[in-house]
Symmetry: C2
DNA sequence: ATTATCTATAGATCTATAGATAATGC
DNA sequence: ATTATCTATAGATCTATAGATAATGC
């Protein structure tokens, strides 16, 4: 017991990171504080020196999940020679992402619970949706900005919906069909749509 | 106390109906049995003569939510002169549906919780997804069956994703933009896509 | 002296059950 | 006699807090 402030900051980040993963895996309501702290190598008692309440952690962890996804895409965009929309779609709609929600998109894992969430979470979410729409629009072939935005919104919706459905069904063939079909259709669609 | 068997059957249906609504509104984890029974005009004690466990009710209520949606679409299809895809899209992607999840589509309200659910719920869900894909494919202009199925899967995914996102964001203008844009794009898309 | 974490627990809540009550249905 | 519902509660669980402990940091 009794650690430095630097260590406390590290601990804080570790708790948030684990929570972010667990919330996406088990839902915002499904994660217990004691369990979470244990996974972080700590005990329940310490929790409230890090967060005023459970809800504060939820907001921080959801924000962290958004941040992780953003960093990942940003890295892909600026890292190599940029990322194509096609690559982004394949990076999203695959079975690895489907089977590891804890490391994946927070929208497909948590959207309905976020919709029931408090102001803070929904504000974070609004900002993130705006960012993602612009990000996808930027990856589209050079349509006029309005068309690009509109196609980006459709693409984003289809990605989130396809992953949600692919996870909800128990038949693996149907699940894969959903991922594959939506990926193909989105790629064709976007490249073929005329500029208005 | 002490009622007829016919009344018990009615009571059972009433509990399931209220549960189905509440689960879509508050999530599968958010509904308390005592609260639910009170809304049905009953008390907690009677619950377990109707359901072996809470999970049994969840499965029945999710099935009921699917059934309700199916009846609604079936009625629309056979009722008038049939329903167009365009009508169906508008019937789904509007603010009334967004603001009343309890009476709406179970996928956009519950998909991530269903994905974490038990076998029974996921089996029900698989069947329902299959039905909905076929239903949407049947509403599409006469493409070949494969194309129709593929477009139906994209359409279904986009509907569910758009509603999920529209509910998750707090900015009303953005929320409406998502609904409106996806509705328009889907309508254009489907009518313009060549038969392969 | 301050504080990061721990142990222990109060208080609230939720599922499920036991036993009582008042009807139905043979 | 059977049973649909009620009242009451046991048992489990979860959030949050109180007070102790062992470090840091002035």
């Amino acid at each position: 017991m009794g650690h430095s402030r630097a260590e406390k900051a590290k601990t804080h980040k570790r708790i948030v990171s684990i929570a972010s993963k667990k919330f996406r895996e088990e839902g915002l309501a499904g994660v217990k504080i004691a369990e979470l702290m244990k996974e972080a190598g700590l005990t329940v008692g310490g929790f409230y020196k890090h967060f005023d309440s459970r809800d504060v952690l939820v907001a921080e962890a959801v924000g962290s999940a958004f941040g992780g996804w953003k960093r990942r895409v940003d890295a892909a965009v600026s890292g190599g020679l940029g990322i194509s929309l096609s690559k982004m779609i394949d990076d999203y709609l695959n079975t690895a992402h489907r089977d590891d929600p804890g490391a994946g998109c927070a929208f497909s894992a948590l959207a309905p619970e976020i919709a029931r969430g408090d102001k803070r979470i929904r504000a974070l979410t609004t900002e993130q949706v705006r960012n993602d729409i612009q990000l996808i629009a930027g990856l589209l072939p050079d349509n006029d900005p309005r068309t690009a935005r509109s196609l980006a919104i459709l693409t984003f919706s289809a990605l989130v919906g396809a992953m949600s459905l692919a996870r909800a069904v128990s038949d693996q063939a149907l699940s894969r069909e959903i991922l594959k079909t939506v990926a193909e259709r989105l790629k064709n669609f976007v490249s073929e749509t005329p500029g208005s």
